[in-house]
Symmetry: C2
Subunit: 408 residues, 2 copies
Amino acid sequence: MPVKLAAPDPASLLPIRGVRLGIASAGIKKPGRRDITLIELAPGARVAGVFTQNRFCAAPVVLCKQHLTHGNIRALVINTGNANAGTGDDGLQRARQTCAAVAQLMGCATEAVLPFSTGVILEPLPIDKILPALPAAQADLAPDHWSEAAHAIMTTDIVAKGASRRAQVGGKTVTVTGIAKGSGMIHPNMATMLGYVATDAAVAPDLMPQLVKDVADVSFNCVTVDGDTSTNDSFILIATGQAANAEISDATGADYAALKAALSEVAIELAQAMARDGEGATKFITVAVEGGRDRAECKQIAYAIARSPLVKTAFFASDPNLGRILAAIGYAGVTDLDVNTLQVYLGDVLVAEKGGRAASYTEAQGAAVMREADITVRVALNRGNVNATVWTCDFSYDYVKINAEYRT
Amino acid sequence: MPVKLAAPDPASLLPIRGVRLGIASAGIKKPGRRDITLIELAPGARVAGVFTQNRFCAAPVVLCKQHLTHGNIRALVINTGNANAGTGDDGLQRARQTCAAVAQLMGCATEAVLPFSTGVILEPLPIDKILPALPAAQADLAPDHWSEAAHAIMTTDIVAKGASRRAQVGGKTVTVTGIAKGSGMIHPNMATMLGYVATDAAVAPDLMPQLVKDVADVSFNCVTVDGDTSTNDSFILIATGQAANAEISDATGADYAALKAALSEVAIELAQAMARDGEGATKFITVAVEGGRDRAECKQIAYAIARSPLVKTAFFASDPNLGRILAAIGYAGVTDLDVNTLQVYLGDVLVAEKGGRAASYTEAQGAAVMREADITVRVALNRGNVNATVWTCDFSYDYVKINAEYRT
C-alpha cells in the first residue's frame, strides 16, 4: 500500500493558461479503461524534455527527441497499456501514425505532436484501438482535467500523482502544475515514469533544456524503486508564456531561481510520490549522503543503499540489520573511501562510526526508528561539503507478487 | 528450494595429501550448531587468496591479506554465525586473538593462521564462545572431513557444496577438492561466499596469486544472486605440493593449463551451486553474452540481466516477459551499443532481433522454455569475438521471506 500518499484533490490541481487536457478510452489492455490522454498547448508554448538513457529506448522516445527539435509543440498524446518499446521500425511507424492522426485532428504538423507510451514492452502498439479513440480525447479537452489525466496515465500505480504551486516570478504570479506516473522499474536516468510539469511562466526557448535538466536532477533523477531503468521514461516541461512575466532569459537571475524552485517543488513531490507508491511499498525511505567531495560520489553511495535488496528487505521486516547498510556503502564503488571516518544515522540515531557500531547505539533505538513508515538513513562522509538525497521504498512480498503477475 | 542440487556424497570428496579438517561447535548463533572449522596444512603448502572489494571489508579479510604476506600458512579457522564485519579496531583484535589461539594449539606463528567469518554484520565476534571450541576442532582433524566442513561453513545455504576432480599434471595424478558456502548477498568481487579449493599439486609460490585469480575469474566472479557484495568474501587456493609433480612455475605451460582446468572445474561447480542454492531460488539461470568487443562489456550486459529484479521475478513467474531482458540490455551502460544488430535467445528460441521481437517468435515458444528449471538466456552482440557467462537464480517470495526474517 502507498506510504502516506493520497491522490490529489482534483480542485488542488490548478489549471495552467494555455494547456487543456482530454481523456479517452481505447481499451488497449482492458476494455473501458481510460488509457488515452491528449494535452493541447496554445501557440507559443515552449517545451523541453529529458529522456531515458536506455539503449533500447522506446519508439515514442525516439520520436519525441526528433519532434522537440521542431520547436513548436502543440500537442502531447499519451497511452498506457503498451510501451511501444522493443518494437523496431514497425514501432516507429506506429508512433508516427499516432502523431499524424493527432496532427490531423488539431490542425498542426505531425512534428508538433509528442508521443508517449507506457506499459508492456515487446508488443506491437495497437493503433487500431488508439486512433479511433483520439476524437473522443479531443472532445474532452478542458483546462481543469489535470486530475483525470493523472489517473489516465497510471499503470501499476495505486495512487494518482499530481501537484501544483503558485510562485512570484518577476512581479507576476505564475502557476505550476504537474502530473506523473511510475511505481516500478524505477531508477534514475530516469525512472519508469512519465512526468509532465507545466507553467504559464514565459521562458526563453534556449533556456528550456537547462531548466528541465536542473529540475530533473533534484527530483525524478533522485528516486529508485528497483534499479531497473525503463525504456520509456520521459519528463516534459512546458512553459506556455501566458503569465505576463518578463521572459526569463538568464539562468543566473532571480526569476530563473524563483521559477526553478517552484517547478522543483512540484517535481520533487511527484518523484517522492513514486517511491511512496513503489510496487509493494510499506515504507518510504530517504537516503541522505552528506559531506562528500562531489555529487557523483554522494549519489553513488545513496543509490547503493537505496538499491540493495538486502537493505530493502530489512526495512520491510522493520529489522535494524544495519550491517547491510554498511556493506552497501562499502561496495558502492568509491574506492578511496575511508570507512573509519564516516558516520551512519538511522533517523536521529547514530548507528555506526569508526568502522563499526557506535558505542552509544542500542538495538532498541534502531528498532524504534524502523517501526516508522517514513525513515531517513543519513551518511556523513566528512570529506567534502556536497550532499545528495535519494528516495526509495522497501522491498516486500508484494513487489514480487506484482511483478510476477504483471502480465496475467 | 535448491534447483537440481544435492549435497555431495561425502565419499566423493577426495582427501588432499597435506590437508586435514576438524569441526567443532561453539554455539555462536545456535546452541549445538557445528560452526567452527579448522583446516590444517602440512609444512610447504602454498596459499593464495582473492577477497571482497567492499570498503567495509571484515576484520578477518584484513588479517588474511596481512598474513598471506607471511608466506607459510599452516592453518585456516572459519566461523559461521558472525561476520566480524563493521566491528572496527575491536573486531581486528578479536580476529587476531582467534589466530593466536589457533597458533598456540598448532605450534605455529599467529601470522601462519588465516581467519574467516561469515554471518551477521555489526556485532562483536563472540571469542568467549569461539576460543574454548578450538581444541575440539583440533582433536577432530582428519583428511576425510571435507564433507563435514562443507556443512559447518553454511549459513543460509540449504545444501552443502563440495566437489572433487582428478587430473594428470606433468605425468602425475593430482587431486583437487573444494568446498564453498554462499546463497545470498551474492555478487562478484566476490559473492558472500567462502570458498576453499585445495590440490596436492606442486605450484611455485610466485604463481599462486595469478592462479587463484585465473580460477576466480571464470567461477566465483561469474555468479550473482542479489547484487549485494559482501564484506567477507574470500576464495582461498591451497597447493600442498605432495603430488610429486614437477613444481609448476610457468603460467604459459601445459601443466599450468591442466591444473587450472581441474581447479576451474571444481570452482565452477561450487559457484553454480551457489546460484542453484540462491535464497528462494526456483530456477537456475545462465546468462551468456557472446560476440562482444571485450570481456568487460559482455559481463556488464550479463550482470544487468542477471541482477534485474524485474527479469528475475519474470523467471519466477515462468512468464516470458522478455521486454524486461531487452530493457536490462539497454541500461547496462554500454553506451555505443546498437540494439538493432543484436539477437536475444531464450534457450534455443530466437526472441528478439532488429530492435524488436523476432518475427518467428511465438509466446508459446517462450512459455515452453520458461517452464524449465534450468534456463539459458543468450545475447549475441555481433560486434567482437569475446564471451562472458554469468549464473544466477530467480527472485521469489522466499527471497524476501528469508531476508526479512534473517535475524529473527
